[in-house]
Symmetry: C2
Subunit: 527 residues, 2 copies
């Protein structure tokens, strides 16, 4: 049996495997030719062992070299962009342009470069000095990081190239990437560019490792492995909760991004003011990536009135006109279809769509459902279950109090948006709804759709459970996202020459911000 | 049946209870007269309900008023200090002076005042502004906090007055304190001072609530209650792990400080240079509070040589001379005794002590054990089990590599100390041991015992599992400790007038540090 090799200890090694798998082109249904191994436990063990040594070696590697690696990797990806984009298109069915080539790939190399800049700057470590008591602390790398990437972003969230990867490496850790089995060849190409950059910049060989697939029980064992420092996962709630339990049972931090329906509240004044504009933004956001975004608006909340009905008509019309884009897999299609059906069973009505669409490949009709506030509230959490794909539920409430109650019953989400009139006509409704919504989400938006997560230091791509596993951390945004991959360490009475560089009285790096005796100071200011 | 009242919704209410308990004076064994209720679930439900309303109201309370409450509470404690100290002495057997009156009570009011200053300053919220993209984020109160205080610090870690309490309140949350049943009357007196301060400063009535005792199953149910935002616990590993599982199963953050043996490495040059001084510091640290400190040095690591033997002789001599102080309870005594016996069974040898001591009250002989590195390593984790009390294990290694191996096998601890020669004679040994030790602890000390945890912004009273449940957070040190009680919230495209004050372009508070477009700026600098 022949299969692609896994990247362990700096080499493409033959995997320990008994089974293989192949990806499919979801736009055609065609099975792709490469075979990839389902690794046995021995591969995990070897990767953790090598990562442990790399973690040790990385402690004496200057941040400058880690930054150089991230930048070399970004350049390498750009050099091979054509092949990488073509392969990802084949494995995911996502459009080459603008999506893969002009949006996601540039975003990915940008993340790597931002991470490089943050590693070089050093401020991410939040060095805190109490010079009078000679107590000093900072965040330091936590050890090998296992990253489970999701199916929907083959570059920007890939375990071997995405935001978690960039943040974990920039914080000084080696990464063991668990590639998503829906885009293994894309992951292989990316990992090869990473491997080359490791060699070019002389980082420890096992700084970047990658395995394609694992039996579920080995995944659970891996996240609890004593040699693993921390785990990051983006994917389904079901898989996430299994990993969460296994990691927590072993006393290990795990950061999960699991599911979100991203409510969008459209207040009547806004709908009256700019109906066409809002409809356009909404359908574009709902159908982006065939709705397979973690921030896709799965839930629209409105008050009953003619402009709400008009909006639903507009959406339905565009949903019917646009041809359905392929979903990422046949199981994604069947799960989405089951999700739509269970929303109907829970009381929602189909406005348009609802069925599996004509091929080629795995497509579902663009689907709009609606329900009354009463139906939504009566259904408990059934109408809050994320339907991953091009389906959206609109809830039309009779009175503002119903909207407030819906917000109160809402589970934790990544985002919540409120569109309100520029005239001020919706201001009192806004004041009634925003505080409650803000507490249920990681990011509150005004007059903006939630898709398109900016890589900003102020971003929070996080939120209350069950959207994520901890409401204090973001998965996007450098340097904040790096803190997940670090441990707080304190040095009490430690002699000056023995301190980590960043905690010494004088530091060489002119750009590092430190909190010294209660004031934030940039090293250059103290010379 | 008569019993003390519980503090719920701002009033001392009759508890829902079927059972009562009484505290004992552990220095005499005498049962104290007051009866306290073991609350039924209805008390928890009522407290969470009231806390939920208080959390809502606290959102519109200015930080200045929260600061005023913390300061009023500190003053009230000082006004009633005599009675509080006397009661704590009776319930814990800890000496009135210096411990309770001159150390722990001043530390406690100092913590409250530091928390007040941090609430007033506002920098704790880490406001981060991306003005170009108009994305802004900060930490905001997470909702009702349940604090489980430990047995060993009746003021400074008490659920109703200690560090967790102060940090949770300063971050803008109401607290439901679960008093420790070994010092209920002390907790009642403190809670009454808190209640008065709530009234004086006009905070929501349920900002501070307190329950004395709960059935285990109700404790587990409470930490998973949907109305609870986060849980903080300081206590035994067994109880902590039960609560951890219950909270995590409900998707709730929980911060636990569970156990630590705080290794102290005494290098040969240091022992040769200042034997008497080190012996003195060590015995004082080991016997402080009868060894019932979370940072008590339970493990001494040395290399075989005459000065190591000399040190052990000195320690043994003082251990024999000093009369054993009372432990906190009869069960604490029996657990400690069982712990010492199991260390002997695991291969350690008694140097002095080892038995239950003469009364009155619950006392154990000051106990020194020793083992070879080989014995320690062969025992797996058996010789790393915390023995909570006045017992210390010395491990004498033949060669430095053995010490390195011990450090490598060590579980997560709060602290690790290394004493080395001032002459530089130990420098190469230090370099060999410090990196490994630093990764196993939250705080690395040089030439200093770990007891006496300074309340400094740079402190880390935390560490890797199982010392705590998350290596990224500290339980001591304002403002860092406050972040545990907050959620990260982002405002994306939100209109200026709708932003929380701290995220507006211009803010009134001249003292708040914010990160604006990558630079830390104090509000006063921007006027």
């Amino acid at each position: 049996m022949d299969a692609a090799r896994v990247l362990i200890g700096g080499e493409w090694r033959e995997a320990n495997f008994k089974k293989t798998f192949q990806a499919q082109n979801p736009a055609t249904g065609e099975t792709l030719s490469h075979a990839f191994p389902v690794s046995e436990w021995a591969d995990c063990e070897a990767a953790v062992h090598a990562a442990d040594e790399a973690a040790e070696q990385l402690r004496s590697v200057a941040p400058e070299r880690i930054a150089a690696f991230l930048e070399a990797y970004a350049r390498n990806i750009e050099s091979s962009a054509d092949q990488i984009v073509r392969t990802a298109h084949e494995e995911t069915g996502l459009p080459i342009t603008p999506r893969l080539k002009d949006v996601e790939l540039p975003r990915t190399v940008n993340q790597l470069r931002q991470a490089a800049a943050a590693a070089r700057e050093g401020s991410w470590a939040r060095a805190t000095l109490d010079t009078e008591k000679n107590i000093r602390s900072c965040f330091e790398p936590i050890g090998p990081v296992v990253v489970f990437g999701p199916n929907n972003f083959p570059f920007a969230f890939n375990g071997v190239s995405g935001g978690d990867f960039a943040a974990a490496i920039a914080a000084g850790n080696p990464v063991i990437a668990k590639a998503h089995p829906l885009h293994p060849e894309t992951s292989r190409l990316l990992a090869e560019e990473a491997r080359k950059a490791v060699v070019e910049t002389g980082l420890p060989a096992a700084t970047v490792q990658m395995i394609y697939h694992l039996a579920n029980e080995d995944g659970l064992k891996l996240v609890g492995h004593p040699g693993v420092g921390v785990v990051a996962f983006t994917g389904s709630r079901a898989a996430g909760l299994h990993l969460k339990r296994a990691a927590e049972e072993a006393g290990k931090p795990i950061y999960l991004e699991m599911s979100s329906i991203n409510p969008v509240v459209l207040l009547p004044g806004a709908l009256a003011e700019r109906p066409a504009e809002i409809a356009q933004e909404l359908v574009d956001s709902c159908l982006a990536g065939a709705g397979q975004f973690c921030t896709s608006p799965n839930l629209i909340l409105m008050l009953e009135n003619p402009s709400a009905e008009e909006l639903l008509d507009r959406i339905a019309k565009v949903f019917q006109e646009r041809s359905p884009q392929p979903l990422l897999s046949s199981s994604g299609l069947s799960q989405m279809h089951a999700g739509v059906q269970s929303q109907v069973e829970a009381g929602a009505t189909l406005v348009t769509g609802g069925g599996v669409a004509q091929g080629p490949g795995y497509r579902h009709e663009n689907t709009l459902l609606r329900a009354t506030a009463g139906q939504f509230l009566a259904a408990g959490h059934a109408l809050q279950r994320e339907v991953f794909g091009n389906a959206t539920l609109a809830v039309v409430a009779d009175v503002p109090e119903e909207l407030q109650e819906i917000v109160g019953q809402m589970e934790g989400n990544l985002t919540g948006s409120i569109y309100s009139a520029k005239s001020g006509a919706d201001d009192s409704l806004y004041t009634q709804l925003a505080p409650g919504l803000s507490r249920k989400v990681g990011r509150l938006l005004n007059d903006k759709m939630p898709t398109g997560v900016a890589v900003s230091p102020a971003m929070n791509h996080g939120g209350p459970y069950p959207a994520t596993s901890h409401p204090g951390f973001t998965a996007v945004g450098i340097p904040a996202a790096m803190i997940r991959f670090a441990a707080l360490r304190c040095y009490d009475g430690v002699r000056q020459e023995r301190l980590p560089d960043i905690l010494k009285d004088k530091i060489d790096n002119p750009s590092t911000w430190r909190s010294i005796d209660g004031a934030w100071v940039r090293a250059m200011e103290r010379g």
